[in-house]
Subunit: 708 residues, 2 copies
């Protein structure tokens, strides 16, 4: 059990002295309190005392300057290693102090630390980071240039269990090193995982520890030891973001996403006005609930009775869609509160995105006081197709499907609508989040988790206002429904001032990458990937195992599909002898069984059909990747029809395994792909990579969700 009181005492003293970092000896006390092994050591304030301490520890020792003003001790000439006797220790004291004075004449020098010099070992780094979005994280990497130059480092939300910490050891690129390479010994993994977990517990227990750097930690077969420790403090951390309870979120979000009554504040009959577009989209979209136009002077808009305020509406209202200037929003929000409306859809811009942070803070304040949740501001609105609801000024869209999408940016939202229409992709919802003054991704996830109309969730994210809350919810939701995230702004960070190696990684894209992965989220690397994953994941059934088979009519496609499988961490099933023989029954002697199965280009439809049937019916094959090649003998539409039929027959028998197809050939393959897509078989023209990437995304999800 950690000794929290001991740490509390150390930090209280530091706070009293208005310092922002711990001395080496204080850091040792903190480590001792949390079972983080550190070398034997003592603090010398005279050269003679250095000799005494060194004698007691035993040689060799290393000696280091102790000064709150000198963070990079080596740069200051403040470290001497390999001291082998008392005389050397005495001399080293004077040299170190002199060098430190030389480096910074004003530095407050507290003394020289005399420390047991550890035997050669694998050096690793363990750190504590405060990320602006995710809060406390523990970081781990191999020491030296692997972290500093190659950035080979991984993260976990703190506190991390020892199991999590153990998994971190395998996540770095150099993982093999810890297991011992070319005669080197394996390190004590349990001890290392324990140290990481203890660091993560420490920074969780004491939020004022803003950065922590154990660099290096020596890892040997017999244990671990943090040779150098740096701990930085920030006694004035940012306040946590407001978060209602799960039930409050779900209650409000359910009424907001599936409203029975909608008010349009600023409804208008004027062509081209947002309040007019929203009214039209609601009506033309086929919304069956009540629509209440609100306008101070109109009596009727588009044939609907108009009210001067939501407070005058006789019926229930679940959402109010705001189509009024920013300056009028706060007042109308108050009326929404009075009326008991749970959600306001804030289309207006003119808030934080144009620098009006105070105006935004004001509406958040009013909304909270009135118990109204805010979507936006600065959004296009949202769609919920299963209610025929187009609560937006954009074009209406109503193709029903099982994927819910959200976007932080309006441009991306329009791309979602356009792509969906073009690809005939059914959706359950499309939601604009804009400035995310209140409702954000974790609110949406909480709703979509239990929404029977949604089976896949895809989100475009520029920043997570509360990454930790998102990770918590995503980790749970992704167990049952795939969550795809396109994290934009991967490279827009710029430099951030920080005083430790790991501290400098806060806000880094690697942090997003690690946390999203740990949360079971499928990260899309591009807008097009996000859209294709959204389309494809709702179509593909969950595979029952890792065995993927490639079946192709063109050897060249087989090679490209194999490359794509490797790129997407898919496993080509080793071909069992009996199945190999079964395939060989159908393919020419010079065709290749094995995997890929190459039926060769000259084969008639019957060969495609027979080998596809074999693949669908054999339970050892869990997923099927087909590489079709356009020939006169088996033209594109003939292939499409036979594949459609084969899959339909298999499904009728209860066999539903993922089938994806890459079609190469002349333009007729586009029609064949459309035909197959219409039958829920993923088929793409002129590409080997896309079908495999979508299958790979499904596998990534299934593995993270523990289904494989």
């Amino acid at each position: 059990m950690p000794n929290r009181d001991a740490v509390r005492d150390v930090l209280a003293k530091v706070r009293t002295e208005s310092r922002a970092s711990l001395t080496a000896l204080e850091a040792k006390q903190v480590c001792d309190a949390y079972g983080i092994p550190v070398p034997e050591e003592g603090m010398a304030t005279t050269a003679a005392l250095a000799g005494d301490i060194a004698d007691e520890i035993g040689y060799p020792v290393v000696m280091k300057i102790v000064s709150p003003d000198i963070l990079h001790k080596t740069d200051a000439g403040g470290v001497i290693t390999g001291i082998e006797g008392r005389d050397d220790a005495v001399a080293a004291y004077d040299r170190i102090v002199a060098a430190a004075r030389d480096y910074d004449a004003d530095a407050d020098i507290l003394g020289v630390q005399v420390q047991q010099q550890m035997q050669a070992a694998q050096e690793v780094i363990v750190g504590g980071v405060t990320d602006p979005s995710f809060g406390k994280l523990v970081a781990f990497g191999l020491g030296g240039i692997l972290v500093e130059v190659l950035k080979d480092v991984t993260f976990r939300l703190a506190p991390a269990t020892e199991g999590d910490a153990g998994a971190m050891l395998d996540e770095i690129a150099g993982a093999e090193v810890l297991r011992g390479v070319r005669g080197g010994p394996a390190v004590d993994r349990a001890a290392l995982a324990g140290l990481i977990a203890n660091v993560s517990q420490l920074i969780s227990d004491f939020p004022e520890i803003s950065e922590m750097d154990l660099n290096p930690v020596f890892a040997t077969p017999d244990g671990v030891c943090a040779v150098d420790t740096r701990i930085l403090l920030d006694f004035d951390p940012a306040p946590p973001r407001y978060r209602p309870s799960h039930d409050e979120i779900l209650g409000a979000m359910t009424r907001i996403m599936q409203p029975d009554g909608v008010a349009v504040i600023g409804a208008s009959a004027g062509e081209g006005k947002i309040g007019n577009s929203v009214m039209k989209n609601l009506i033309d979209g086929g919304y069956q609930g009540e629509i209440f136009p609100i306008h101070p002077r109109e009596t009727e808009v588009l044939g609907r009775k108009c009210y001067t305020s939501v407070t005058e509406v006789p019926g229930n209202i679940d959402i109010a869609i705001f189509c009024i200037p920013a300056a009028l929003v706060a007042n109308a929000l108050g009326e929404c509160g009075e009326k008991g409306i749970p959600g306001a859809v804030l289309i207006p811009s003119g808030f934080a995105e144009v620098g009006e942070h105070e105006l935004q803070a004001e509406i958040v304040q009013v909304a909270r006081e009135n118990n109204v949740r805010l979507m936006g501001p600065n959004i296009y609105g949202f769609y919920y197709t299963h209610k025929n609801l187009c609560a937006t000024f954009c074009t209406p869209y109503g193709e029903k499907g099982k994927v819910a999408l959200s976007s932080q940016s309006g441009g991306v939202g329009m791309a979602i609508v356009g792509f969906s229409r073009s690809a005939k992709m059914g959706v359950s919802a499309i939601v604009g989040l804009g400035n995310k003054a209140d409702i954000d991704e974790d609110d949406l996830l909480t709703f979509f988790e239990q929404d029977p109309n949604t089976e896949v969730i895809a989100m475009h994210v520029e920043d997570l206002k509360d990454g930790r809350a998102f990770a918590d919810v995503a980790k749970r939701v992704s167990k049952s429904k795939p969550v795809v995230v396109l994290k934009a702004g991967r490279t827009s960070l710029g430099a951030r001032a920080a005083n430790s190696h790991t501290g400098a990684l806060a806000g880094d894209d690697r942090v997003y990458d690690a946390v999203l992965r740990q949360s079971g989220v499928i990260r899309a690397q591009s807008l097009n990937d996000m859209l294709e994953f959204a389309r494809g994941l709702q179509v593909l059934p969950t595979p029952k195992g890792e065995n993927v088979l490639i079946l192709t009519g063109a050897g060249g496609s087989g090679v490209l599909l194999s490359d794509a499988c490797a790129d997407n961490d898919l496993t080509l099933m080793p071909m069992p002898d009996d199945l190999d023989a079964a395939f060989r029954e159908y393919i020419p002697p010079f065709g290749a069984a094995g995997n890929p199965v190459d039926i060769t280009g000259g084969e008639p439809p019957t060969t495609y059909r027979a080998t596809i049937d074999l693949s669908l019916n054999d339970e050892r094959i869990h997923s099927l990747v087909i590489g079709y090649w356009h020939t006169i003998i088996t033209p594109p539409m003939v292939f499409a029809e036979l594949l459609g039929e084969a899959v339909a027959e298999a499904r009728a028998k209860g066999i539903d395994k993922p089938v994806v197809a890459s079609l190469v050939g002349d333009v007729e393959i586009e029609q064949a792909c459309d035909y197959l897509m219409d039958r829920d078989i993923l088929a793409y023209p002129y590409t080997a990579e896309k079908p495999v990437a979508v299958l790979g995304a499904k596998y990534r999800w299934a593995r993270a969700a523990g289904m494989l």
Copy 2:
């Protein structure tokens, strides 16, 4: 100057003794002869002699077993380091010999090497590799786990100049280490480059050196030293591939690609036969040269007089297209030779691809004797649009353009035709290479280099039969025309037996990657990328500098486009103050100048037009990336027309800089993209990544070609 005679003597002795590896002392002699620094050392055959040698060298020394049967000395307990005096050296001798006996009782133990122990230094690895396609390569990486675990290694074709070798130092991920990080010293780069160049010269001069491993090489600020050297020999290397001279290639290829007379051997009137499809495609494609059907029994095919053999044709024939079974090919080739036909297009399959290697060797032999170049066998044929030539059994295609494509696989060839037709992509040629029994990529490059109808070349490659010849030609051609390569089979290598770290890398995809990059080739990572690059590169003008500007109507697009620029190594121009002020004249106060320039979503066409004009006319901006957002105020076609007009006006003024556009919005953006594509402005819907990737490919080429 290297002492080649000394090396020749050593290798001759090894050959006489039928050994496949050098002893440590032989390796030292070889290194000495090529100015490769190695430690002082001597060979002890008794314990007492070990003591004598150690005394002479000075302490500390390291001692190592010398045995042709023990390659991994450390594993055998055959290395002791840090020997500080004579007694220790004597004892070490006996321990090493005992350990070696224990490891392999049958090992031939020649003695123990006594070697100067070097001071601590940065460890690097330099190696010599024999790649099955590229031949001799020199490899370089940082020592230890960086090569062995992280595979951070780079290659050059040997011999490499010192300049090349110097560039290698910057190509590895850990390059920064060599310049000194966190207080570590920079290494002597000139000495290291010199050592790499010398190794590359050595393995070039002596092809029988199959693998060479200097591991580690110690690099310090004062020089370099190869501490351990392993040299393996193969006195029976594969014979080089046949290669005609440049002029012979060009002479034949010009007649083949632009024939004035075409014979179709196996021409047929029978619907569905290949000899019928080829005849039809020639005629329907509009080919204006002479067409001579050849058939033993027909007198006329599709209205053309038929001959029984090419030898009976009265006119000149430049290519014979073979539409006959494999078994008949050799005989007909002989007749082609007799007639003086320079090229045979071998559509038939039934050769190496189905295991008939001897039959293929036979036709190659016949062709060489008859001075006929072979395209194929096992191909769809080829297209050369500027002659209206469809020498193929596939569908005809004749859209003229400036890109020439080739594919090793028929499936990929059909994808090229289909994509081209669908995207309305003009081509100069599409060529199937199939088994590449003779004509391969470097023959095509030699022709396309001087073909005025071709400005971009894109190739699908599964293996390069002669990678070195390809690299030579590609390096030259890519200086004037972009060469795109999709290398398939990146991951199909499997394990390869090798006895050294660097030797194990032969045939690795990293070798292809390094050599293609050095040859100025743009490597496409997917089929779709290859096709998009082919389409885009012929449209984009060469940029005059690195400054890229993003201009967007949606902040969200700007973020995605910035990510894409970073992914593609594009440089966002730092915005000069005067230009910033000029943009601010047009955009709302809350819009963002800087880069990206965000004109915001509510702006009318005039704002788009004014800011686009500003971007086109300012010479400091070298390339323009536009992120359009679909709004009612500036609908897609209005945007497309204004952009088309702006670019046309700029072009009329002689301003021709790359412009690419990402359009996000509802389906109308597809029409807008088509409109822009028709006007040679690259525009893509629903994606931020694709336009930037194509621009990135153009930059990669321009940099490699020395134009930037």
